[in-house]
């Protein structure tokens, strides 16, 4: 295959409804993308590997011409890399059903080692916090974070990596120029400027529900390791885990309580042989990164707290507790409870996650 022009590569990449490997075979058969474009209708009709619908797509794309989608690509400012190029991510070359083209803004993961962190959108405080810490500490150890920018676990892991100044990249289910979910504008901008946004869909494509399972194969594909933080019994994160299994990646899951529906998926994965995240330091060692020596930092803090502060702190859990509950549990007078709660919040030991619902802030190292 000779060098192809971007115009033609983009034209071929925009036919995302035809599986990538099939497109590669067509090009091989025809010699170049341009030849595919100029192919006679009878020839296309005679191609047995394409289904009727795929033939239609190819024919209509032929009559539409390459110019329109090329202009959209230029307008969006996104870059395109295809399997025909040298810098196509090595990790993706190895998966079955690899995408023909990959649109991106910011940077691609390149040669760096990456872990995918995925989990529930509606997650508990425990999930949020661990996702953030995993993102942060992995980034600190130089491991990139791949995720889907969804609310909840995905976003937290990526925020953690960005806060640490590490690399993180989001794989979207629509064009890279469309922020989805629209509420994550802030994260989207940060990723554009300091990380990467990747998609196999051409710019301007709206996210559709059937794009997401396909998107998940890229999340696991770009990473060497997949970490599931919180997942319900039926969850998109489990689809990612299935792909990871197929692609031969390592899978880790953050364990949860047996009674917690948000951890059912994770616990199931562990029972099926996934690695259990037994601590962040442990995870780092497992991934071969240097565990960072600040794990014993938390011990000292308890001595710094006054007696009643300690008492109240011990009543606060990972699930939000209300003011009334805390007053009841600690047996302290109301005035004192509100004051201690505020002081603990100011020290970063507690956080108010909902109206008058307080949870313990997980310490960094654990």
């Amino acid at each position: 295959m000779g060098e192809e022009k971007l115009l033609w590569k983009n034209w071929m990449a925009s036919l995302y409804e035809i599986p990538g490997p099939k497109r590669e075979r067509i090009i091989q058969a025809a010699g170049s993308i341009r030849n595919v474009y100029n192919m006679k209708k009878q020839h296309i009709d005679r191609m047995d590997m394409l289904t009727g619908r795929e033939k239609e797509i190819l024919l209509s794309a032929r009559s539409a011409g390459p110019q329109g989608s090329y202009e959209r690509l230029m307008e969006s400012g996104a870059a395109l890399v295809t399997v025909l190029d040298e810098d196509y991510p090595q990790a993706l070359r190895e998966i079955t059903n690899r995408p023909f083209g990959l649109y991106y803004t910011g940077q691609l993961p390149g040669e760096r080692r990456c872990a995918a962190v995925v989990g529930a959108r509606v997650c508990s405080e425990y999930g949020r916090r661990y996702a953030y810490l995993i993102g942060k500490h992995l980034a600190e150890a130089g491991i990139g974070i791949i995720s889907g920018m969804a609310r909840g676990v995905d976003a937290q892991a990526q925020e953690g990596a960005l806060d640490q100044g590490g690399y993180t990249c989001a794989v979207l289910g629509g064009g890279t120029d469309i922020c989805y979910p629209p509420g994550s504008r802030n994260l989207y901008e940060r990723l554009r400027n300091h990380g990467g946004i990747v998609s196999e869909y051409p710019p301007g494509t709206k996210a559709a529900s059937w794009h997401f399972p396909a998107r998940n194969r890229l999340i696991s594909g770009l990473a060497q390791t997949v970490i599931v933080v919180e997942a319900r019994q039926k969850s998109g994160s489990l689809i990612t885990a299935d792909f990871a299994l197929e692609q031969g990646k390592d899978i880790y899951a953050v364990p949860g309580r047996l009674c917690d529906p948000l951890s059912e998926g994770c616990n199931r994965l562990i029972s099926q042989g996934a690695g259990i995240v037994a601590g962040i330091g442990w995870l780092l060692r497992e991934l071969g990164a240097d565990a960072l020596e600040k794990i014993n930092k938390s011990k000292k803090r308890e001595n710094l707290l006054a007696k009643n502060e300690n008492l109240l702190y011990s009543c606060v859990d990972l699930e939000p507790r209300s003011l009334d509950e805390l007053t009841e549990l600690s047996g302290l007078p109301r005035e004192e409870v509100t004051e201690i709660l505020l002081r603990l919040q100011l020290r970063g030991l507690l956080v108010e996650v909902s109206k008058n619902g307080y949870v313990r802030m997980l310490s960094e190292g654990k």
Binding site: V122, G152, L262, L323, E325, T327, R343, K355, N356, G357
Partner: protein, 518 residues
């Protein structure tokens, strides 16, 4: 022959005095009414003529002209009937006209000569008193309501014939009879024992935080927002808020009763409103019903809740447009409704108490039980504008009640009476503090004057500064925390705001959108 008597009609919640003139002259027999009248007033001509005839008096076939002055005010309602009839009778020489001087006459006539009750008696009688009238002739059903104004004689009449006798002075004893007891003279309408609310805070088990927040809210007239799952007692608490308000003074009572008089909700059994109102409009309420409206504007729920509580249950279910209407009246403490024929002003000095679920299933943020998707949760809160949330000074969570709370047992809950005495102390302190200023409550302290009114202990100041920086508060949130802390300190009779008060106020700070945006 020309004669005149006086009557009045209601405009907004104030009354306007009207002179009713009648002239009888030779000419074609007819009954003409002039003076910028509405259709209801114009129809009076038939009612009056029939009522006079049915009272046994023959109207001679002459030209009768009735004028209602001043002629540039549009006149509404059926309250002029009796005055028109008496002016015609005076012009006919049936009653001595000079006896009707200094008398205000109100009432609607039936065809048989019966005098029917009308709305808005209280503001009319109060206006009559102000204008120096000596007595009012009112429909019998309205006479108790009129008497509550005090300081002016009110005579009730049942028929046109009785009204004629009264004017002619044949019914003097009735005048005296109506102002018998000493008590009645001193404070008309007050002699019956103050009606209890029949509710008490002691009925509520648990929910200590919400009860405490309610106490502070009432003491400083702060608006209150309660968030919690259904069945946690939000409505029960709201219903009991009026029981911890300071009792209404006589002036306040009269002002409030005027509004109820205009909408016709006063009766002989309840001529004066002695209780703080509690209005809980259903969430399907329209903007006009909430703030007042109609072709001839009638007071809305916010005015009927004047000096009391407006309770908005299921806040998220209200139409957003309706809620936005609340903002200006909440700020100005009155509502102004403009029509072509004039502008109506109704008072609305209210405490807004709102209740809502945290999400449509009610369990957020308990993720194990909440079945809402994150988008549903966000959509749920987005129904309330930030501007309205900003006006809620105090915001508390009403958690699910536990069995232990329900059984209670050993703990004695604070009664409304106890809470009220604490509230009244805080109110007294505020009265002294704001004497000579336009401010009435801590919730009304303008941002610029907060440093003067809210001195803090050094330690408290440090705590607030640290909180402000660490929790990234807005300037508005800072102001509200100070106001609420001021009330908390007043409840304890403390001059300076301490760390306890600051931390409590921080606890109650208004809802932050970030709780929903995750």
């Amino acid at each position: 022959m020309f004669q005149r008597v006086f009557s009045a009609f209601v405009y907004g919640i104030e009354a306007r005095i009207v002179q009713v003139e009648a002239d009888i002259s030779d000419g074609l027999p007819m009954f003409v009414m002039v003076g910028y009248l509405s259709a209801a007033v114009r129809e009076a001509s038939d009612r009056v003529r029939t009522a006079i005839r049915n009272s046994g008096i023959r109207i001679p076939p002459k030209r009768i002209v009735v004028n209602l002055a001043p002629a540039d005010m549009h006149k509404e309602g059926a309250s002029f009937d009796l005055a028109i009839a008496l002016s015609v009778l005076a012009a006919l020489g049936e009653i001595p006209a000079e006896a009707a001087e200094r008398t205000l006459i109100i009432g609607e006539l039936g065809l048989n000569g019966r005098v029917n009750p009308v709305r808005g008696i209280l503001p009319i009688v109060m206006k009559a008193k102000e204008f120096g009238f000596e007595r009012c002739i009112l429909p019998m059903e309205n006479v108790r309501e009129g008497q509550t104004a005090g300081g002016i004689a009110c005579v009730g009449v049942e028929t046109l014939a009785q009204a004629m006798e009264t004017v002619a002075g044949k019914k003097k004893e009735a005048l005296e009879e109506n102002r018998n007891s000493e008590e009645e003279k001193r404070c008309p309408g007050c002699n019956e024992k103050e009606e209890g609310y029949g509710l008490d805070f002691a009925d509520i088990r648990g929910q200590k935080t919400v009860k405490r927040a309610a106490k502070i809210a009432v003491a400083g007239m702060h608006n209150l927002l309660m968030i919690g799952p259904s069945g946690s007692g939000k409505t029960m608490i709201a219903r009991r808020l009026p029981t911890i308000f300071p009792p209404l003074s006589r002036e306040e009572s009269l002002e409030l009763s005027k509004i109820y008089s205009v909408v016709g909700e006063l009766s002989s059994d309840r001529p004066l409103i002695r209780q703080r109102p509690f209005r809980a409009p259903h969430h399907t309420v329209t903007a006009a019903a909430l703030c007042g409206g109609g072709r001839i504007p009638a007071p809305g729920e916010i005015s009927l809740a004047h000096m009391g509580v407006l309770f908005l249950d299921e806040l998220t279910e209200f139409s957003p447009a309706v809620l936005e209407c609340l903002r200006q009246p909440m700020e100005d403490r009155r509502v102004q409704i403009s029509r072509v024929q004039g502008t109506y002003i109704y008072p609305s000095d209210i405490m807004v108490c709102a209740a809502m679920n945290p999400c449509s299933c009610g369990y957020y943020p308990d993720m194990r039980r909440c079945s809402c998707s994150s988008r549903e949760i966000q959509r749920f809160l987005r129904r309330i504008s930030q501007a309205l949330l900003d006006r809620m000074d105090i915001c508390v969570e009403a958690p699910q009640i536990t069995y232990r709370d329900l059984r209670g047992g050993e703990r004695k809950e604070e009664s409304s009476e106890q809470i009220r005495s604490q509230v009244m102390r805080a109110v007294r302190i505020q009265k002294e503090r704001f004497a000579g200023t336009a401010i009435r409550w801590n919730s009304g302290i303008p941002g610029g004057e907060l440093p003067d009114y809210c001195p803090m202990e050094d330690e408290a100041e440090e705590l607030l500064q640290e909180t402000f920086e660490r929790l990234e508060l807005s300037a508005r949130a800072y102001h509200k925390i100070l106001r609420v802390a001021r009330t908390a300190a007043d409840l304890e009779g403390k001059e300076k705001i301490g760390t306890v008060h600051i931390s409590e106020a921080v606890c109650y700070r208004s809802l932050e959108r970030k709780f929903w945006m995750r």
